[in-house]
C-alpha cells in the first residue's frame, strides 16, 4: 500500500505523506515522481502532519521532486513538519533546502492562493442547484428559487425545523442551513418516505439533517472541483416553532427563498474568511 496520496485541486497539488517513510516505501514514490512532474501545472504542498519517520532516501526524492518542479517554474512547500522531523532535516544540513510553512493555510497564503472567498454566484449557485436536484430526485418535489437577499437580523426568516451543516476549509468557514415551516417539512418527508406524516416526530426529525447533508455533498463536489477545499462535515437539526438561528460565523448571510409543490422554505448560506 502506498505511503502517500496526491490530491489535486484547481490551484495546487497536495501530497499527503504517511507515518513511516523508509527505503521500502520509497521505491514506488521514486517511480511516481516522474508522473507527478509530467502533470505538474501547479505548486506542490507536501503535508508532513502524520510523518514520524523519514529516511534519507525520502529526503533525496523530495529534493528531486522540488528540482523537477523548479524546472517547470512551480514551487514546493512542506507543511506541518514536526519538531523531530525538522531536527532530522537540520542535522542533515538540508533544513534550508526546503521552504517550510507551519500550516496549509499559511502555505496557500505564501503561494498567493489563500485568496478570500466571497458569497458570490460562483459559491451560491452550487447550493441552489443542489437544493432543486435533491428535492426533485429524493422527494419528487419541484422547487423554484425566489430573489436572493441578505439576512438583516436573526429574527428574520424564522422557521419550525432546520438542518444545519458547517462549511469548513483551510481558508474560510461558514454554514449552510435549510429551514422549513412544519407544514412544508411534513409534505417533503411524506413524499420522501411514502407515508403520510401529520406531526414532526423522532421518525422524521433527522430528515432535515439528511436533506442538508445531500445538498452540502452535491455543492461540495462542485465547489471542490474549483479548488475551494471544503471538508466533510456532519449535519445537525434544530426543531422548535418559529425558532431563531444564531451563527458563530461572522459574515454576511445570504437567504435563498424557495417556492415548491410542498410549500415554501428557504436556504441560508453564511461565509467568513
Amino acid at each position: 500500500m502506498k505511503k502517500y496520496l496526491l490530491e489535486k485541486t484547481e490551484t495546487y497539488n497536495l501530497l499527503k505523506l504517511g507515518d513511516v517513510l523508509t527505503f521500502n516505501e520509497n521505491r514506488e514514490f521514486e517511480i511516481d515522481i516522474e508522473t507527478f512532474l509530467l502533470g505538474a501545472q501547479h505548486p506542490f504542498i507536501v503535508d508532513f502532519s502524520v510523518v514520524e519517520t523519514l529516511s534519507k532516501d525520502w529526503v533525496r526524492s523530495l529534493m528531486r521532486l522540488q528540482l523537477g518542479l523548479k524546472k517547470k517554474h512551480q514551487m514546493m512547500k512542506l507543511v506541518s513538519v514536526s519538531p523531530n522531523i525538522f531536527s532530522f532535516l537540520k542535522k542533515e544540513g538540508i533544513d534550508t533546502a526546503f521552504q517550510i510553512a507551519p500550516t496549509l493555510k499559511e502555505a496557500l497564503q505564501d503561494l498567493g492562493l489563500g485568496t478570500k472567498r466571497s458569497l458570490d454566484t460562483e459559491f451560491i449557485n452550487p447550493f441552489l442547484d443542489a437544493t432543486l436536484h435533491v428535492l426533485d430526485i429524493q422527494a419528487q418535489i419541484k422547487s423554484k428559487p425566489g430573489k436572493l437577499c441578505l439576512k438583516k437580523n436573526e429574527k428574520e426568516f424564522q422557521s419550525d425545523i432546520s438542518g444545519i451543516i458547517g462549511i469548513v476549509s483551510e481558508t474560510f468557514n461558514g454554514s449552510v442551513v435549510i429551514s422549513f415551516p412544519e407544514k412544508t417539512f411534513l409534505k417533503v418527508m411524506s413524499s420522501m418516505l411514502g407515508d403520510n406524516f401529520t406531526e414532526i416526530n423522532k421518525d422524521i426529525l433527522d430528515g432535515a439533517g439528511e436533506i442538508t447533508n445531500m445538498i452540502f455533498g452535491q455543492a461540495k463536489i462542485s465547489l471542490n472541483e474549483k479548488g475551494y477545499g471544503i471538508k466533510t462535515a456532519l449535519p445537525s437539526v434544530v426543531h422548535g416553532k418559529s425558532h431563531i438561528l444564531t451563527t458563530q460565523t461572522k459574515g454576511p448571510i445570504v437567504v435563498i427563498p424557495f417556492e415548491s409543490t410542498a410549500g415554501n422554505f428557504h436556504v441560508e448560506i453564511c461565509l467568513s474568511n
Binding site: 430526485i137 418527508m189 418516505l193 433527522d206 439533517g209 439528511e210 447533508n213 452540502f216 461540495k220 466533510t232
Partner: protein, 135 residues
C-alpha cells in the same frame, strides 16, 4: 440482478436515510431487510445472525466508524470478505471513490438517488460479484 430473497443489511446513522433506502429496496421487490444505526451495530448483526447477509448497503459519512472503515473491517474477515458491499455517499470526490474501490467496495451510490439509480447500481454490483466468484 440479486435474488429478491437476498437478505440485506442497511447501515446508516440517519433514521430517515435508512427508511429511504429500505423504501426503495421494497419498491424494487426486496423484503428481507435489516437496519443498523452504525458500524458497530452492523458488525454485531453481521456476526450473530444465523442466515448470512447477501448484501450490505452502508452510508459513508457516519460518526464513530465511517462506512469506509466498516467496509475495511468486513473485507478483512474471511467469513464476510466476499459479501457484496455498496457504499452510499453524498459527496463522492475522485480520491474518495478511488480509496473505496481499493478497499473492496462493489459499487457506490451517490445521494440523492432514484429507484432506477439504485437498481442500476445493484445490477452493476451483482455483475462484479459474479465475475469475482467465477474468477
Amino acid at each position: 440482478m440479486f435474488n429478491l430473497k437476498t437478505k440485506i443489511l442497511i447501515v446508516d446513522d440517519m433514521l430517515t436515510m435508512r427508511k429511504i433506502v429500505s423504501k426503495v429496496l421494497r419498491e424494487i421487490g426486496f423484503s428481507d431487510i435489516t437496519e443498523a444505526c452504525d458500524g458497530k451495530e452492523a458488525w454485531q448483526k453481521l456476526t450473530t445472525t444465523q442466515e448470512p447477509f447477501g448484501l450490505i448497503i452502508s452510508d459513508w459519512n457516519m460518526p464513530n466508524m465511517t462506512g469506509l472503515d466498516f467496509l475495511k473491517q468486513v473485507r478483512a474477515d474471511k467469513k464476510f470478505c466476499k459479501t457484496p458491499f455498496l457504499l452510499v455517499t453524498a459527496e463522492a470526490e475522485q480520491h474518495q471513490v478511488a480509496e473505496a474501490i481499493k478497499s473492496g467496495v462493489d459499487q457506490y451510490v451517490i445521494k440523492p438517488f432514484s429507484q432506477d439509480n439504485l437498481k442500476a447500481k445493484l445490477e452493476m454490483a451483482h455483475k462484479k460479484v459474479a465475475a469475482r466468484i467465477s474468477a
